[in-house]
Structures are given as C-alpha cells and as structure tokens.
C-alpha cells in the first residue's frame, strides 16, 4: 500500500504532498523527504506508519472504487439531462432512471 495513504490515515486528512509533506523515491522505495507540518503532528516513525497498513489499504481500495464509480456515472451534462427527463415525467425520486443508474453503479462497486 502506498505511503501517501498511510500518511493520510495518520493525519486524518490528505495533506498537500508538494508542500506540507514531500515524498521521494530514489530507487529504493518512497520515503519522507520533508515533513513541514510538525506544528500539526510530529513526523511519524516507520513503525507508526506500518501499524496503519490495513487502514491505508482500505483507503487506497476505496479511492480506486471512487474513481471507478465516477467514470461509470458518466458525463455530468448527460446526468443532468437524465434528471431533467425524470422530473419532466414526474419521476424525480428513486423511481427515476438517473437514480437507478447511480444505484447500479454504487451497488456494483461497493466501498469497503
């Protein structure tokens, strides 16, 4: 699992990985090059980060699912068009086509 996810779990938020926390990989794996948010939380040790491995894996998996869902939802303009048609047909609720499509995508790509 990625170091970015471990750090995100450690902080409880995703930091700016170009300013707040800088990671580098010189060919032997990623490591923390700069930790610029000591005032918020101390730079974690390797053991602290490794202890968060399962949560980080879950976060990573859910990120993949989120991206898959987004791609499957389709173009936002097409979705609005579908919503408009549903409302025009008096189906602006869970009986509409837009809702059915979104639900099908979510069901097929359940988060952990």
């Amino acid at each position: 699992m990625s170091l970015t996810n471990k750090i995100t779990v450690y902080l409880g938020r995703k930091p700016d990985f170009l300013k707040e926390v800088l990671l580098q990989d010189d060919g032997s794996g990623p490591y923390i090059k700069e930790w610029n948010i000591t005032s918020e939380k101390a730079k974690p040790t390797d053991s602290q980060l490794n202890a968060l491995a399962s949560e980080a894996t879950k976060l990573g998996n859910n990120n993949v699912i989120r991206k898959t869902r987004k791609k499957s939802y389709g173009d936002i303009g097409d979705q609005l068009d579908l919503l408009y048609k549903d409302m025009l047909a008096g189906k602006g609720d869970s009986t509409g086509e837009w809702f059915k499509k979104i639900k099908a995508v979510k069901d097929a790509n359940a988060k952990e």
């Binding site: 990625s2 170091l3 970015t4 990671l23 580098q24 010189d26 990573g60 990120n63 173009d75």
Partner: protein, 208 residues
C-alpha cells in the same frame, strides 16, 4: 635587400623553411584565397581533434574543434514504462542511451566531466495517463541531489486524461556537478510514465 635568383627548375619541395624567411615575414597580402579553395574539402563535420588556425589576441594558435562543439552531449530514454509512485517525487531510471559523447551519463544521471565546466542546456519530457480531478504530473530536474524549481506543473481536468510534461533549463555547472530527473504524479495509485514519450537530453553551450 638583395633579391634571390630562383634556380632553374624552380624551388624544390620544402626548400623554403624558417632559415630562409624571417619571423612574421609572410602577411595576408602574400596569401591567396586558393590557399583555402585549392585544398581538398572535408565535406563532413570535423572530428573533435581536427584543428583550425586562429588569432588569439594577435598570436596565431591552433585550436581543436572539440573546444567549439556542443559537447559533452547526451540523450537517454526508457526501454520500458516506469511506475511513478503516487504523490512521490520518483527518480527516472533512464536505461537506454541514445548518444553520450563523453561517457558522462551513468547511473541515471549526467555528471559534468573534468575540464568541461560551463553552461549546459537540459530538456526532458514524458507522458502518463489516467489523471483527473486536478491531479498533477510534472518532471523535475535535480542538481547534486536537490530539486531545482524550474519545472512547469500540469493539472488534470475532471475527467481522466493523458498528460504530457516537458521541462527545460540552462544551468551553470562545475566539474562533478550532476543532473537527474524526477517525475511526480498524484493519481491515487502508481501510474506509469510511458517509454514511448520519455526522454532526457542535454549539451554544453558554447560562447556563453
């Protein structure tokens, strides 16, 4: 000064040498353009040890072409795609040399050879796909292990897209200085930088 009578049969080869002509006795008015136009044309790029005759502050000197070539010069690429770690500046492992005039590229970096200090121009490019939601992709130059902020960052639109990045820089370098390239992307998982587009090249500038 008395004139010398040229012997019958003319002057033999190499008969006129330093013992017969005073220093600086031959000036431009005694030379004809055929001294150049009458000789065999090289008709190709001179080799680095070919020489020119120049006036260096009024003194004639010979100079090797190596001093006016844009060398050292190198070009490298990837032989296969390389994964860029999510949210991490990842060193690009250039493993295929296109050219390397001074054997100055090794271990993923260009190192200025001894006696070759000066200004150098570097350029690099790459491509990755699957970026969206304002994610970034860029290539960064590192000098002696530290990032130099000369790159241009690219930001992805909302939908998945392939992104190309280019960066170039001119640096004043000393012998032993070395230059590397790192790639960055933050798609959320590892993404490849494509070997089809990735290249890193550089050469010494002359006259600046």
């Amino acid at each position: 000064m008395s004139k010398t009578t040229i012997p019958k049969g003319g002057i033999t080869a190499d008969a006129i040498d330093g013992t017969l002509i005073a220093d600086d006795a031959i000036s431009e008015e005694h030379l004809d353009a055929t001294a150049i136009t009458g000789t065999t044309a090289l008709a190709e790029t001179p080799s680095s040890t070919d020489e020119l005759l120049i006036s260096d502050g009024g003194t004639l000197k010979r100079i090797d072409f190596s001093h006016i070539f844009n060398t050292p010069s190198f070009g490298v690429k990837l032989s296969s795609n390389q994964a860029l770690t999510d949210g991490t500046l990842t060193k690009i492992t250039w493993d295929s040399e296109l050219w390397d005039t001074d054997s100055a590229f090794a271990s993923n970096k260009f190192t200025v050879p001894s006696g070759k200090a000066g200004k150098y121009y570097f350029t690099t490019m790459g491509y990755t796909d699957g970026q969206d939601d304002g994610e970034h992709f860029f290539l960064a130059f590192y000098k002696n292990g530290s990032r130099i902020f000369r790159e241009v960052g690219w930001t992805a639109p909302s939908t998945n897209t392939g992104m190309r990045a280019m960066a170039s820089v001119t640096l004043n370098l000393s012998a032993g200085d070395y230059i590397e390239v790192y790639g960055y992307q933050n798609e959320g998982s590892n993404r490849d930088i494509s070997s089809d587009y990735a290249q890193f090249s550089g050469h010494k500038l002359v006259g600046v």
